[in-house]
Each structure stands twice: as C-alpha cells, then as structure tokens.
C-alpha cells in the first residue's frame, strides 16, 4: 500500500482527468499492484471504479474490452476468444483475478505478462482519454501519456492463438513465453501470416518477427534465467508456437 493521504472517486472521465492533472496523484484501477506496494509515499489516489469503464462488446470486427474489465470477467466472457480467455485466467490467481483489470495490466506493462503479449499479437489498440488512442506496442514503448487514462483496448478477435511457455512450475509466471496468433485463411486462400510476441525478453512484452524471433533482442538475466538461456528459450518456444498453429 503506498499509504495514500487522500482518496478521490470521480464520477466522470473528465473529473478523473482533472484530478489527475495535479502532481502526486495516481489512478487506481483494480489495486492489485498499486495497493500491494508498502513503500511509504505520500500519494493521492484517484479511484476509477465509478467511470463505467468495464464491459466487453463487439462491433462485429473488433472486440472492445473496457479498461476496468477484470481479468475474471475477461476469462469468463463468451465474447472473448477461448485462447485469450485461458490466458486471462492464467494471468493471476483467483483472489487477484477478480480485482485486477485489463487497464491495469496494460498500464503496468510488465515484461512477463503473457496477457499483454496476447493483446499485442491481437493487434491491440489502446483507447485513451486525455490523449490520442495508440497501438499497444507504442504505448508499451513510451508508457501511458501523462494526464491521460486508459479507457479501453480493442483487439482483432479472429484467428487462433497459442502459448508456448517455460516456467519453474505449471502456473509460474513464465521465464519466457511465446504467444503466436494467426488469422484463418481468407476466401482467396491467402494466409495472412502469423504474429508473435515474446515475454521475458525485455522490459515489456515485444512483438517479434516469427521468422527471426530473437533478432535484436538483448534480454536481461535474473535468478530465474540468464540472458543466454532466455535467448535459447525464445528460439525453442517460438518454433513450438508456430508449429502448434500449423
């Protein structure tokens, strides 16, 4: 818990943006990261729960997942592709999944997040209030623009996705994971190809060229896996993910 000295719960996005324009104020989503931090810091939290940002809807082309949608809701929604549902379920255990939000996962930008990798390969676009919408890849690279809040993410729900992962145990946060997604063949018989993202290889999950998955990557090692080992895993798991899609 960052020991907030004040709590705000705005009713509208505009109010939220106004509150967040002051220094030392941070947006509060599900709280599983922010409220888990016990380092004393004098912050004011702006709780976004009243902004009606939860919900999953489709326009027939893109799937829109509200920023306040919990991982639990994403994991149980029939509108979400099955492969993505299982990734949302695996992202957090039961007691945190009901709190953690899609917006929080995106804002966190965790390099080990398989769900973020899955959103990346799903052509995710992040909707923002207070700033222009932008592709998830760009947002991960630069962070949430100051003075803005994430309101939703849209993805292309078509196609199949797979995950190949290596961890210490079956539900451990993977040391490296390769998430691949392909679209079904279009009527002309042309295969539009595969998109792939890796976790555990950089500060955030990264989109990679499936043909050269480790090109340009320079992962940092840690106690779970050295840099060299991560590169090896990336190659092996990328190959497996591609093979699984065939």
């Amino acid at each position: 818990m960052p020991l907030p000295v004040a709590y705000h719960r705005p009713d509208t996005v505009e109010q939220a943006l106004s509150l967040l324009s002051h220094p030392n104020r941070i947006p509060l989503g599900g709280g599983t990261v922010l409220n888990a931090d016990r380092e004393p810091s004098e912050l004011e939290v702006v709780d976004l729960q009243a902004l009606s940002l939860a919900g999953i809807e489709t326009d027939g082309v893109r799937l829109r997942i509200g920023a306040a949608t919990t991982l639990e809701a994403a994991a149980t929604s029939d509108r979400v592709p099955a492969w993505l549902r299982s990734i949302a379920r695996a992202e957090a255990p039961s007691t945190l999944r009901t709190l953690a939000t899609i917006g929080g996962v995106i804002a966190g930008g965790c390099g080990n997040s398989v769900l973020l990798a899955a959103l990346l390969v799903s052509d995710a676009e992040v909707e923002l209030a207070g700033a222009p919408d932008q592709p998830l890849e760009a947002l991960l690279a630069h962070g949430v623009p100051p003075g803005s809040i994430i309101t939703a993410v849209t993805i292309d729900p078509k196609g199949e996705g797979v995950v190949a992962r290596t961890g210490r145990t079956p539900t451990d946060v993977p040391i490296v994971a390769a998430v691949a997604r392909t679209l079904p063949e279009d009527p002309s018989g042309r295969n539009p190809g595969t998109s792939m993202a890796l976790t555990g290889m950089a500060d955030t999950p990264v989109l990679v060229d499936p043909g050269k998955p480790t090109a340009g990557l320079a992962p940092k090692g840690d106690f779970r896996g050295s840099a060299a080992y991560r590169l090896k895993l990336a190659a092996v798991l990328s190959t497996r993910a591609i093979k699984a899609l065939l």
Binding site: Y7, N35, R38, P93, T95, L96, D172, Y229, V236
Partner: protein, 978 residues
C-alpha cells in the same frame, strides 16, 4: 473519511484513513477470520467475497469498498450448527492450522453458487489464490466436492481410509506384478494397510474430526492476533540493509521526538545479554552468539532497532527517522568459502564463548565414527565419491511470526505468541528481560503453521523489552518480506559421500563429509547438522561409518529449524548417491538398496554417537535396535501405485508423439526418527468433570498438525469415551504441564504416551470408584467403554454417575491424573517415496506428474490427520526439490522476498498425490504409534532427481531442479541435444 458498505448483509458505516486496507478495517470491525498473510494479497488469507467474488482484502483500499457488498465467513455463523460447506471441510480434515479457512469456505460458496457441480480443475482454480502450506490442497479439493454433493442434496459416505490388502508378508519382498492395478479411490483417501498385530480400537485409528474443527471452520478468534488489548502499541523493526557491518553510530533523536512514539530500542539502551535463539532443551547448545540488539549486523535483515508507537504507520515513520551510520564490512555467503583466508571474521566480539574456531568461522566441528572407514574404503572392491549441494529455502508459514506482550495486573509479563516452543521461550526470554521465569507466562494460541520457523525464541524478547519500556501492551508482527529475511530458513549444505561396496554389493564403508551453512548465528546449527549425519548414515547397514562436519558462519539470513531438520539434505545426497552407485554397478537400484537397508533387528549404530547433547566417541556395549518396520510393504505398495515397470519401457520414457519430452520414475527410501531419546519430554494432566467428560491439559503444541486431536483420541481410548468428551487445552506455561514443544516428530509419541499414562491414572481411579458403586472387590476386572464402567457380570455405572458421586456424594475427591514421559527409544518410521516426472529436454523444464508415499508410521492414531501430514509434507518437499530458492544480489540482499518470485506451489498445479499408511505395531509407542510429521520431507527431492536420471540419463547433484539448471546439465551431458 467515512465509508459505508454492506457487511454480511448489514449496512456498516465506519471511519477509515485513505491508506487503510479493507483487511485491517474488517478486522477492526470484528471479522477476525480475515487474516494477514502478506500485504500483496497473493496468500489469499484475507480473501473475502467482494460483490460476490473472491478477492484479497489486502489489496482493496477500505475507501474503495464504499458502496460494495462484503461477505466474510462470519456471515455463516449465526447459529452453533455448521454450514454444509463448513461441515464438508471438517469431515475430510481439510483444515490443518485453519489459518486460511475463511477464504477457502467463502471461495467454495461463491464457486458453488455459480456452478453446483464443479470439476476438479474448477475447484483447483478457485483455490489457486489461497496459498496453503499445509494440506497440499488434497483434502480441501475433496471438501469442495463433498460440499457440492451435499448442497445438491446428496449425502456423501463417511470419509475414512480405504482398507486394502497387504502385498507382502510384512517381512519379505514380493515379486512386482506389472499387471496388478493399484486401488481406485479419490486421492484424498488414504490407503491403509492394516497390521494383524494391531487390535481393533474404538477411537484410536479412527478418522475422528479434529477437536478444533468448529473454531477453525467458523473463523472464530483463536490465533495470536485475534485479541484486542486496550492501549496496545504497534512495533516496527529497523533491519540491516548490509550483509555485514558495524554500527558506528545510531541517532534516534528524530524518531523519539515523533508524536505517538513510545519507545525506540537498540544496542545503546538494551542490556547486552548473550543467548542462542534456537528453541531447545536446557542448556541450549553454545555458543550464545546473539544479543537482543548488537552493535554489529551480520546479514541483510538483521535487527538494528525497534520502535513502539500508537499506530503501525507512526512506527514505520519513526523507523525511517533513525539515523544509522554503518561501517560496511566484507561478507561471505557460500559455506565453501567461509573458512578461507579471504573470508571476513563474522564473530569478532570478545564475549561469545564456545565457537570452535572463530577466526575461520567454524562454529562447530562434529565428528562421529564406527569401525574403521579408511580401512573399509581401502579394502572395498568399488569406491564411489560424489558431492552434492543443497540450497536455502524457507518454511513459509502463512501466518508470519507475531507476538503480543503485556504486563498483567500482577505485573507479570504475558507473552501471547505464535511459537512451537512456549516453555523453552519462557525460560530463554527471562534472562534477556531481566525477569524470573516465574514472572513470565507464555501463551500459545492457535498457530497458522510453523514448520520449525517458530521453534525459536525469535521476537518474543523484543515485545518483552518494549512492554517493559512502555508499560503498555505491544504487538509485533513480521511482514512477509521480514519473514523471509529476518526469521529462519533451511541450512544450505555441501555434502560429499564416499562409499565402499563389496563384490556382493554390500556396503563396507560410508564416509560423509558436510559443510553446513548456519548463517551468522549458531542457533540450530549444531543439531541440524548432527541430524544430517544421523540420517545420512542410519538407514543402510555398513560396518564402517564416519561423519565429519564443519558448521560455518556466513552472512546469509539465518538458517534454523525446518521440518525435517537436516534430514532432507542428507536424504537427497544419500538416495541420489546410492542410485548412482547402483547404476554404476549395473544392478537395479531398489535391489541394491534392499541389499543394504536396515530391517527389524538392525542396530541403529550411529545414532548414539550423534545425539543432541553431543558426540559420544566410545563404542557402546549395546546399540538400540529397530523393533518395528514395514519397509517391504511400503516399497511394494509404492511400486504398484506408481506402476514402476514403465520406467523401463522406452516408448513410455520417450513418447513418440512428444519428441521433446522424456518421462521418468524415481524412488527414494526414507527413514526418520521419532523424538529425541532421553531428552524430549511431555506432560499431561486430565481431570474428570461432573458430566463424565474430561479436561485434558497438555504442554504439547498443536501447530495445525492435529496434535490436540490425536492426544485426545489416545485419552478417549483409554477412558472409554468418545473424543468429544475430551476437552483439550494446550500450551500455556501457567496452566499446562511442561512439554519440550512441537519438533523432532515427537508429539504423538512423547506427548501421546504422557496422555496415555495420565489417562491410565484416571482410569485406575475411575475403576476403583466404579467398583465401590457396584460392590465389586477387584476394580481391575472393570472395563471402561461407551462412557460407562462395566463389571464382569454386565452391570455398569456411567462416568457421569461416577463423577457426581466422587465430586458431590461420598468420600469426595477430584479424580485426576498427571503423567509425563521421556523415551529411551527413537523408533524410526520408514517410507518409500516415488515420483513420476516429465522433462522437456529442449528447455529443461521439469513437470512433476505424480508423487506417491507409502509410510510406516506405526499405528496412525488418526489416519486422516496422518495422511494430511504426508500430503502437506510432500508438497513442501516438492518445493524444495523443484522451485523454491533464495536468490541474492552480490551484496547479500534477497531478490525474491515475496511469494511469486519465491515460488511455492498453488492448488491448480500440484501433481497427483497418493498416500499409503502401512500399519506396524511399535510396542514402545502409544497404541503402536510412531512419528509421521517429518518423514514426508525426506524423499521427494531424491525421488525427483532419480526420476530425471531415469528420464534423461543425466544425474544432477544440485537442487532445485529449475529449468535453467536442468537445461545446463542436459547440455553438459549432450551438447547436441539442447
């Protein structure tokens, strides 16, 4: 600010601070089932239903709860009767400590409302957010199944063991039949193989529901933190950021001046009294190398100062205001480097006595020998040598260390604390506080797990000092991070075996060399390493045995007691080594081990030379012998259950459709001890009440193990009453008899025998009073059963009638009995441990598919609690083998001091587990019982290791088997494959 939310169906408005979390606010509102496990929510101990969904209250701001619905398990407690979900959990023994009981029950409620007939995967997914260090989730899953059935209107059968036929004659091995299928039953059901030597009993051996089941299922206030004392202060530790440093200056001026601060203690204002913190019998093993606060710190997390303040927030702020100047010293972490010339001298103070060689950081040197090992090795046909490295892990009780101290109305010190050793703690804390033992009362409430971490006088001195300084009640609870770096851990070791084998595959010499890493303080260092030698050299017959061990100081967070107590380290090395020896010799590993393992009648020849009171060098005229063992039956049942023959089938080992997978099955033979002979002592007192029931006071400490229940069953069996007529109260140094505490697998055997003898004393007087009432001349002819005393002619009086007569009518007396017990014996339990695994040969990832343990623990007094001990122990042991480890930076700071980075298994990933209880009759134990609590820790690591060897042909001698370590080993063995 005020928040209003619906709590258990009623609107509640309460004042909160913006920083308050929902867990703390709920506890302030009396919802004490909501527990602290960590601040980050991943333990699930504080999970509640938040708008109908299971959610960790740790990470919900109280302010965020405004307008929401919150349900805690207290919502179910509107009447005495348990809810069907609570009943289901108690019926199958799903609670051990019960610390997270509320979360599990609420999770079940939510799950079953949404899905009345969930699959096992769905149940495990629900439990995935509730970390349980005790049950391995086996019985909680079964509880949810049963609850679902009950709520669908079905009445499940009574839960109990599956009785199965023996495969052996109890002595000899039987031929393995690959076509013989193992029995089919839910995993939670223990398979029980009865012994003909064990008579039928009324209460002992039955799957009785735990005596504390109701209080745990309801989340009633039972734990240390579940009291509210007027004026209580909150303490916060300042700990060292350096692995080794001298405190040059400490300035507490700003902290003392902070409003709300009542005391700031450190080495300049607390008396320097030397002690050893390990909770052990008097006299505690030297050296006494600790003081409450020192002018030197020796590991990251070591104590520097403590603050007591009106709130924890003020205490935290005050800690940040203490200005400490350190002279940072060089540090050493690896036991193999600790004795070298470049290593710093960790204990350079002049007032610590009894360090073996302080200049070389050797705190103890332990040597023991039987026969002539050098001659044995010289004459052996084959000599094998291997070195193994075992690492540092943590006990991880979900309830961290917590103590509350205050001065009572007589100005005596009361310490309510989560401890396994209340009597040791009272004795050990007294000189530190400058008080007499008689002026201290230590109360052990329910404990949320201990596993050895609480076999220590760890923080009781701190709250005692603060209570004296402030004359206010003071509470100190370690955070999860502090629990990792400032409490206790398992000793890392480097172990080398040299083994001589004769032409007939008999062992002729065993030479075991250990470097044990005790961190910066001795505490349990000598005794843990002694047990390592004991366990490494006891279970196989060899005419020549030698143990040599340097126990060394380093600058890692302090190792101490951890369930298994040196045995898991030894057994990993021993069982791996002998498997490799068998492979080298070209014979089946079980046959090789069988050719050498001990049997009934074998001498336990090294044990007297490696006692807790030190090493005995002289040969004895007579050595203790093994009286009971069910080794062959354990091995036969385990082989059948794991389907041992598959390990020799190439198509099974290398499944054609999964080219990067190799499968393997591994075996480990295990032998443990039961209590420490001539040392462990337990006492018990039983008195008769008006209604024919009994109060039983025991010093034994139930950590969630079911000890209170087991001791109650023993007394009930003797007294001819149901368990419900025995009301057990344990571990209060003012009220209950002495007990050394909950460790060394001693409670059932030692305290159980004390309970049995106390009950026998009561029984004798009951019979005499019954004889008087019935006009019988020979009281010994009377039998007690079904709450009555029966004469040979069939006439009877009830216990109630005897009680009323003895208390109110004639020759009035309080019928009561007291007894204590110390054993000259240490009857070993035995076990066969099997592991089935898969190895991904391209990544090194190991997946454990199944664990089987067949245990000879004598007569399991309660087969449900006993099997629960085995399940939970196996999962802890799997963490040791597979995924748990301390990671440090170069300065000795722990990099993974939280759950997740420090990985313990959760419910949705545990392998299949099956437990067999092979009954034997141990005549020295109460109703034939031996120990069961620690042996499950011994065999998993070597079994997994040997399974990897079976799968890949690669022997790995370091644990844990994390992916990169395995991948590196595979690559070293066959560079082309990876």
């Amino acid at each position: 600010m005020n928040v209003t939310f619906e709590l258990n169906g009623r609107s509640v408005t309460t004042q909160v601070n913006p920083s308050d979390n929902l867990r703390d606010v709920l506890r302030r509102l009396g919802m004490l089932s909501v527990k602290y496990g960590s601040s980050s929510g991943e333990t699930g101990a504080a999970a509640v239903l938040f708008d109908g969904r299971l959610a960790s209250a740790d990470v919900i701001l109280a302010a965020s709860a405004d307008g929401h619905r919150v349900v805690t398990v207290e919502a179910l407690n509107t009447e005495r009767q348990l809810h069907p979900i609570q009943l289901a959990f108690t019926a199958v023994g799903a609670f051990q400590s019960g610390y997270s009981a509320g979360a599990m029950i609420l999770g079940t409620m939510a799950l079953l409302e949404a899905n009345p007939d969930p699959s096992d995967a769905e149940i495990r997914d629900m439990l995935s957010g509730i970390l349980d260090r005790e049950t391995a989730y086996v019985k909680p899953v079964e509880a949810v199944r049963r609850a679902a059935a009950m709520l669908r209107g079905r009445q499940p059968e009574a839960f109990g063991p599956l009785i199965i036929e023996p495969l052996t004659d109890g002595v000899h091995a039987c031929e393995y039949d690959p076509d013989d299928e193992p029995p089919n039953a839910p995993h939670a059901v223990p398979r029980l193989i009865p012994s003909r030597d064990v008579p039928e009993m009324a209460v002992v051996g039955k799957p009785e529901i735990k005596v504390d089941a109701v209080r745990l299922a309801k989340g009633n206030p039972a734990f240390t933190d579940d009291i509210d004392l007027r004026g209580m202060l909150h303490a916060k530790l300042l700990t060292s950021p350096h692995a080794h440093a001298r405190i040059v200056n400490i300035d507490d001026t700003k902290a003392v001046a902070l409003p709300g601060v009542h005391a700031v203690l450190h080495h300049r204002n607390v008396a320097r009294v030397k002690y050893a913190s390990g909770g052990q019998s008097w006299p505690n093993p030297h050296p006494y190398d600790q003081v409450s606060f020192d002018d030197k710190v020796r590991h990251v997390g070591d104590r520097v100062a403590v603050v007591a303040a009106e709130t924890i927030e003020i205490a935290e702020q005050a800690v940040s205001l203490i200005d400490v100047t350190y002279e940072v010293l060089s540090a050493v972490f690896d036991e193999r480097l600790a004795t070298g010339p470049d290593a710093p001298k960790i204990h350079d103070e002049t007032d610590t006595e009894g360090i073996f060689d302080a200049d070389r950081n050797i705190v103890h040197q332990i040597q023991a020998q039987r026969g002539d090992v050098d001659a044995g090795l010289a004459g052996a046909q084959h000599v094998f040598e291997q070195t193994f490295r075992v690492h540092q892990v943590q006990q991880c009780p979900i309830e961290p260390h917590i103590s509350i101290a205050w001065l009572d109305s007589d100005e005596r010190m009361v310490i309510r604390t989560a401890t396994q050793v209340p009597f040791h703690t009272r004795r050990m804390v007294a000189p530190l506080l400058g008080m007499d033992i008689k002026d201290i009362r230590v109360v052990k409430p329910r404990i949320g797990g201990g596993f050895g971490a609480k076999q220590e006088m760890l923080i009781e001195d701190i709250v005692g000092h603060l209570a004296i300084a402030t004359r206010r009640p003071v509470r100190l609870e370690l955070t999860r991070t502090e629990e990792f770096v400032s409490s206790r851990t398992r000793h890392p070791q480097t172990i080398t075996f040299r083994t001589g084998v004769d032409h007939d595959f008999k062992l002729v010499a065993q030479d075991m060399h250990v470097i044990g890493n005790t961190g910066p303080y001795g505490t349990h260092g000598q005794t843990v390493q002694t047990v390592t030698g004991l366990r490494g050299l006891s279970q196989y017959v060899s005419p020549n045995k030698r143990f040599f061990c340097d126990v060394v100081y380093t600058n890692i967070p302090v190792p101490g007691a951890y369930r298994g107590y040196g045995a898991p380290q030894a057994e990993f090395a021993l069982e791996a080594h002998l498997t490799d020896v068998a492979r080298e010799l070209g014979i089946d590993e079980i046959e090789f081990k069988r050719n050498n393992w001990v049997r009934a009648g074998s001498e336990m020849d090294i044990a007297p030379h490696l006692g807790e009171r030190g090493v005995v060098e002289d040969e004895l005229d007579e050595y203790p012998k093994i009286a009971s063992e069910g080794i062959e039956e354990c091995v036969a049942q385990a082989m059948r259950e794991i389907r041992w023959h598959r390990r020799d089938d190439p198509d099974w080992v290398s499944p054609p459709h999964r080219p990067h997978i190799r499968r393997g099955i591994g075996f480990a033979f295990c032998m443990h001890g039961t209590a420490i002979p001539f040392l462990d002592m337990g006492g018990c007192s039983i008195k008769l009440n008006d209604d024919g029931s009994f109060n039983m006071l025991v010093g034994a400490t139930d950590l969630g193990t079911g000890a209170d229940t087991v001791l109650g069953q023993i007394a009930a069996e003797v007294l001819g009453v149901p368990l419900d007529d025995i009301k057990v109260y344990s571990s209060d140094t003012d009220l209950t008899p002495f007990d050394t505490g909950a460790y060394a697998s001693s409670t059932t055997y030692i305290s159980g025998t004390a309970a049995m003898r106390a009950a026998e004393n009561v029984r004798k007087r009951l019979k005499e009073r019954a004889a008087m009432l019935l006009g019988i001349d020979e009281p010994c002819t009377i039998e007690l059963r079904d709450r009555r005393a029966y004469a040979p002619d069939g006439r009877s009086v009830s216990h109630n009638e005897i009680a009323l007569d003895s208390l109110h009518m004639q020759d009035q007396e309080q019928i009561m009995g007291t007894s204590s017990f110390v054993s000259p014996e240490c009857p070993p339990p035995f076990a066969a441990q099997m592991a089935e695994i898969e190895v991904d040969i391209e990544t090194g990832q190991v997946t454990v598919v199944k664990l089987v343990m067949a245990v000879d623990c004598g007569v399991a007094i309660n087969p449900i609690t006993a099997s629960g001990q085995v399940e939970g122990g196996m999962l802890q042991a799997l963490g040791y083998a597979h995924c748990e480890e301390y990671a440090y930076d170069k300065q000795g700071k722990m990099l993974n001091a939280s759950f997740g980075p420090y990985k313990i298994y959760r419910a949705d990933e545990v392998p299949e587990m099956v437990v067999y209880l092979v009954q034997t009759m141990e005549d020295s134990g109460p109703f034939g019982a031996k120990a069961v609590a620690e042996i499950p820790k011994d065999g998993v690591a070597p079994a997994v290791r040997n399974a990897i060897l079976n799968a890949t042909g690669v022997a790995i001698n370091d644990i844990p088997f994390t992916p990169e370590r395995v991948w590196t080993a595979l690559r070293s063995h066959d560079p082309d494959r990876c």
